[in-house]
Symmetry: C2
Subunit: 202 residues, 2 copies
Amino acid sequence: MQPSPDTRTRILATARELFHGRSYADVGVKEICAIANVPKGSFYHFFPSKQDLAMAVIDDMADDWAHGFVAEAFDRELPALERLDYMVDAAYYWQKAAKDIEGRMPGCLFGNLALEVSTRDDVLRAKLNAVFQKASARFHETLDEAVETGAMAPLNTGATAQAMLAFLEGVILLAKTRNDPDVVLELGPAIKTLRIELTVEN
Amino acid sequence: MQPSPDTRTRILATARELFHGRSYADVGVKEICAIANVPKGSFYHFFPSKQDLAMAVIDDMADDWAHGFVAEAFDRELPALERLDYMVDAAYYWQKAAKDIEGRMPGCLFGNLALEVSTRDDVLRAKLNAVFQKASARFHETLDEAVETGAMAPLNTGATAQAMLAFLEGVILLAKTRNDPDVVLELGPAIKTLRIELTVEN
């Protein structure tokens, strides 16, 4: 008998919560199996390695993220610059909700994993980099639209988009270090002041 | 016979390099002792726990940092805004030098540890928070001076200082995810565009 797809979902949900709330190295396959209540054999049926599991966790989170608050924040019905405010607010409410439940601000799963594994695992690093590139593309489109509609003076929209994503990750990092989501509310709105100018080619 | 202070230094240097190049959870006391060539007994003489070791590693790095490139970057002889450029350049050269040696961009030890341990260890979290507060105070003084000398229009210097530190951490995070120190050069200079305005009390 094949393990049911429901088992896979349970492993994934458990791993995602544990990796996010603690760290990748701190959580072992044995613990995930115990909490998800699945035998090790079923685990390895779905995920040949812990790295495979992490890849699936990243996909799962990125998918929820893309169809959840990121889709809402980057709604094309909103004026371009309001999308940036929305994104900051969404990050705040997300972290606050998690802290209200767990007592701990978990930060951004992608940022956490990126700093933890990037020097040791090029496969996971490439995966996380792709997630960041997608996120940065959302900022990029938004800035292009802001410039087209005259809401922003012309600037290097591609580089500024990356700077904005970096800022959001950095603000969440600082907030996590204080275990205080309010840091996101206090510093986050400055995202709109970031600018990288176009370089003039002669 | 007491273990020599040199033994302590060796443990510290080994742990710092391994924590920075990999992660806290990924490196065990056994491995540190093997590489530093010290018996476990000597290790526990100096560091009753791995947490104690991490505290000492953070102090050691923060000390080098404060007396090394941070002292140079925030040299009061430099015009205030040039200090911000210097800080970005220093972060770039630091990461580039590390990558040239190891093939990997290690990122910021403090940022790495903060995202890895903050949900699980309040003692280390408080320590890392104190390091960030000190770093943020350097930015704060610099911005106060920039405003006093008219190099910058008045702004909320305390909050903007924190936003700048967050940005620097975020830029290093993104650069580490790409294993590319050039990201720091490309995005970092936008640090000077960040602004949080003073709120007007009525």
